[in-house]
Symmetry: C2
């Protein structure tokens, strides 16, 4: 049985959920994929806790979110908080996303590659800000990089583009890639709320963050379509190359008119090949009932690939939650190391 040691950076809601999944799923993963996964280090603001025999998943699963829990773990188990970690095979990068600097994810990933580790990225920042560098350093170190969780998490996007559509030419991608804005738009439409009212509802339910700008201004959607286009359509764009419009300017009146026409506003992220160039834009768009994403409401997400040989292929769903994002990262880890002959 293949044994792989994991380092996790970031102990937020997705990081902790990843640990919970490791705990729940380790036996199943052994049986189904002939693969033994062990969490040997977790890093936060103040350093790493680590153990070559594997950290205590039970304690970490039940801990409060945040770096303080790692300090508490170190204190209680009388181990040091260190600035580096033991030898391992793969880094799962789950620190908060900063699309400007890409830090701290960027440094974490580069360090891992230099240690000949593979990387599974949950955070988007490093990839969005330093796409070429990240891939170059990975390649130079013969390391592999997966980032399903950064491109709409439990909604399959990269997998479909790379695996299911292999050999097809993807001529366009169109997606509802952000669950928070889709929830707000659905609220506005179904309950005749203004943007501000719907945002407040989303915040009260824990769906939107206190600072909702990354979502409602379209940046999160832009990051995801950017990564998909760079991967699947061969572009090398940066955020500043894209046309990005959020949902915060949609008025009640516009929404009411859209509804009267039997349509819906969706924040669509599009990447379309035209005249030998890939055009990307993110904007609230009115779609009617014939559109494949018309039924994608609430926190749901969806994506449509237009291809030359397979027609339109659409994926919808995939839980928009810390658990869904963690499951997407776990999927990447399994797909890196699974025994294809075994099952």
């Amino acid at each position: 049985m293949l044994k792989k040691n994991i380092v996790l950076t970031g102990f937020g809601s997705v990081g902790r959920e990843f640990i919970r999944l490791l705990k729940e799923k380790s036996e199943m993963i052994k049986q189904n994929y002939n693969l033994e996964l062990r969490l040997v280090a977790v890093g936060g603001r103040d350093g790493f806790i680590s153990s070559e025999e594997g950290l205590n998943l039970h304690i970490l699963s039940e801990s409060e979110l945040g770096s303080q829990s790692l300090s508490d773990y170190a204190h209680n188990l009388r181990i040091p908080l260190t600035s580096s970690y033991v030898n391992a095979d793969v880094l799962v990068e789950a620190t908060p996303t900063d699309v400007g600097s890409g830090e701290p994810g960027f440094s974490n990933m580069i360090t891992a590659f230099h240690n000949r580790m593979d990387v599974v990225a949950i955070s988007k920042g490093a990839l969005v800000a330093h796409y070429d560098t990240v891939f170059e350093v990975a390649k130079a170190n013969k390391a592999r990089l997966k980032y399903s969780a950064a491109t709409a998490a439990a909604l399959p996007t990269k997998d479909i583009g790379e695996i299911s559509l292999a050999g097809s030419e993807i001529v366009g991608i169109e997606g509802i890639l952000n669950g928070t804005t889709n929830y707000i738009l659905t609220c506005m439409q179904e309950e005749d709320l203004s943007f501000e009212e719907a945002l407040r509802t989303a915040q009260q339910k824990g769906i939107a963050e206190t600072n909702p700008d990354l979502d409602v201004k379209g940046i999160d959607s832009a990051c995801k379509i950017l990564l998909l286009a760079n991967d699947l359509l061969g572009t090398r764009y940066l955020l500043e190359d894209l046309s990005i419009q959020g949902i915060d300017a949609i008025t009640k009146e516009q929404m009411a008119e859209c509804k009267r026409r039997g349509s819906k506003f969706k924040l669509l992220a599009k990447a379309l090949k035209r005249d030998g160039k890939v055009h990307i834009n993110i904007a609230p768009t009115e779609i009617s009932s014939g559109h494949m994403l018309f039924g994608v409401d609430g926190t749901n997400k969806g994506i449509v690939f237009q291809t030359d040989t397979m027609g339109a292929v659409c994926a919808i769903g995939g839980s928009s939650s810390p658990r869904g994002a963690a499951a997407a990262a776990l999927k990447d880890v399994i797909n890196l190391y699974r025994d294809h002959e075994f099952n």
Copy 2:
């Protein structure tokens, strides 16, 4: 660059389309996957045409469907029709499906495995009738088997279950897996036609076959859900283990009532885990607008996976056509041999 030699059995509409795709796509496949594909043999009723340097794709692409064209090719190029073929790496099996005997696909696949060749199956018969045997022989010969084209073709089903949902438990699968019956149901609903009238329309448009039983009696849908359940849910069922109901008994009155309720009839193929067992049934089912497959009309197909960690994941679309099926087989060939480090 990796070079792989392909043998094709079956020169029907999908087989010929596969050859056309090889012709159109070979340069792209070299560039994108570092893989050179060469068609070295095609087999029909009367034997194989073969060439170690590769057959003439241009001539075959333009030939009439059927075995006679292979005899003509042999005659015109002064090569023999033989009972076996040159050494090759992979068999693409595209003979007509016989769900009773599984032949001739079964013999073709077993021969290929004994020659240490991998197999990409487009025909379903051998897998449905001899699932265990096929996998045992493949394993004994260290050969690999892929069959995307047999499980809803260009609609991604197996890929999503195996790759995108790795590490999740799939607790249920529900699909509209047959485009012909979905087209007939859509016609009945939208144009108030009887089953017989809608079937005739579908036959006139070349969507339903002259003998439509495999489709309208639910057998084709049953084969697909059977293969998916055996692969993804660990069952070892045969067709006779399933409850199968076709669409041919739906009356105009039932359809009118369903429509009045704002619902639609869909031929759903379901495999659900319950009480430690997997229950499969195929039956026309009334679904309402909240259902993820509600918008799947005409010849479109769709599938929903219910999972423990990723929620519901749904795929819709994928061209229901010879070209779509051939593209699914080409995808399998590429995924068998692609250079993962390369791109």
